[in-house]
Symmetry: D2
């Protein structure tokens, strides 16, 4: 029913995270309604993205600083080089940076898996993480995967892998979030909240 | 914090319908993780879209049939040329076509407005609709705007505009949807459901 | 951990429709905080309910008109005695009465079942409905079960049962509800909406 | 439209927390469908509740231990008498007890208020709390109001009130709850999670 160019673009958008066919078709109809230059600009920005962006050789954060091989955070002399925060994905780095609370370095693992079968483990940057820790001088490694089933299984696995390589391995603090209520909190969260009181 | 190519693409995606900055950044990180050819293909598809797609001169449905000036639906000799269904947007056409129930023609209004101020009315294809109806031989016009506040205000306005031009102007049937429950239905819907019993 | 009176009342409330143990305990703590007379009044109202309320001998609607054996609706001479609306439950009667659109009689079936096994059918007032229809002078029977899976299976079954007994058996009209959108409507609802246009 | 006994009971239920008129009427129709003995049992349980339950003279926890004036928790010699946990309401006590992590005493404040006007403050057991702390031998007071706007305003106020009376005043630990994600956490929660890492 739909013409090929429309259908092809819907199919491409439908592979985006959180996007289904219905939302994908809304995207395409939105683009059809935009001026031609706007859509051309979008196409060019996509091409620029792939031409300019590379992954940091240390933390795998995407960046575009011309000839550099490491990202601005890893290159920043003011960052604390003795603390490494292992995170699942790029957006977690953005979230942590926004707090202004963390001054150490990062490592982007590339996800989290609940089933630790070899084929799942391979999707993560485990070998790269080991090499990074071996090359670094870290006194503290923060396993900042999400406290979800996948994230917790992954952090348990990472702890085991990194134990021989690191002095101190910690997790993010657990407790009640802003706006949370004791009545609806699970027992594990509430136990942590009592234990971490201060 | 983010490099310019990334930020620019996030800003472009954040203008898409239903997309906010957080989802936009997930889209960009997804694209960064895709192979270069995939992203180039996406850029090319965007350009193809704008080069190939035009709006139907009769119903404003986007299509790409080479040299034609009307879309496949308007050109289809088997469609009922005496019935016109006025809809808010392209995706409503898809929804109605999927039912296989409707065999007439369409007109895409380009939205719906609750406040009928001239500057709002101008956003819709009112003049184009009047011309379409004048040129056509319609015996029935279905005002298939959504039964939302905006859609109902718009259909009232359209009825007034089209009255001198059309014999029969109707609305889509109102009633309980599949999966609906009497207990949670509003009085207007329930009244329609009683009235339209059969 | 909780004292017996509290726990017993929580258990009783937890059997109420839509109430789980957490909400049940909120109810009990609310009652503990109320003055003694208020709680006594509630207890008395519960006892009054069971002493005063009886089910209508014709439609099974609960009512409390002293010595009468039929409810005010069935007894009302101004109601249309030739139309019977079969509904799942008491609250559906309230919803339909609020519209002011329906002037006939009701029959409360006592639920709806998707699996038409004899043990499920027995939960409904099927025999009572047959007798009611045989005794009545109905020209139209509206099967107003919900358009859910259960309600639709039940109305198909009722149609089969009532066919030999009634001239005209109808369903509530189907279509888009107030506030609904074409884009999110299922095909069956949209087909009905097109068919019932007017 | 509804008979008086039904309407009166609906009105009483509609005052319960989280219950509106629609849910209240479902409760009443549920009770109408129950056997008479069941409803009488419920009425008796309500009366028992008010006859047997009293509030603990120390923590305001409701209990029914015959002639005692303090609740089982306050009377338990194995509980840590040097720690007091101030909570908003009874159900928070249940939640904390379920963790098995806390061994001290409680004080039920009776709510939380965001606007600290005298008329709001009066709704809470502030004077009773001061007297409790003065009479006790607490080395640590945990202000365990919810980390909501109301709970935080209240804990700030309590801290000010209790400062002259207590050595150590603490809050529950803040951080990511079980199942939480860095990407969706607010900055304050994430800052706490980084700070409380271990």
């Amino acid at each position: 029913m739909l013409s090929p160019s429309i259908q092809k673009l819907i199919d491409l958008f439908a592979k985006f995270p959180t996007v289904g066919p219905r939302t994908a078709s809304r995207f395409v109809f939105y683009l059809i309604g935009q001026p031609k230059e706007k859509v051309k600009e979008m196409a060019q920005t996509l091409i620029d993205l792939k031409n300019n962006i590379k992954l940091c050789g240390l933390c795998f954060n995407p960046f575009e600083n011309g000839d550099e091989s490491v990202c601005p955070i890893c290159a920043d002399p003011s960052r604390d080089k003795k603390t490494l925060c292992v995170i699942e994905k790029e957006s977690d780095l953005l979230s942590l940076e926004k707090t202004g609370q963390y001054k150490g370095l990062y490592f982007i693992l590339g996800g989290a898996v609940s089933n630790l079968m070899p084929e799942n483990i391979q999707k993560l940057r485990i070998e790269e993480l080991k090499q990074r820790v071996e090359k670094g001088v870290f006194e503290e490694i923060i396993l900042a995967t999400n406290p979800t089933t996948d994230g917790q299984a992954t952090s348990l696995y990472l702890r085991q892998i990194l134990k021989p390589l690191a002095k101190k391995i910690v997790l993010l603090g657990r407790g009640l979030p802003l706006g949370g209520e004791l009545e609806y909190a699970d027992e594990e969260t509430l136990s942590s909240a009592i234990e971490n009181r201060k």
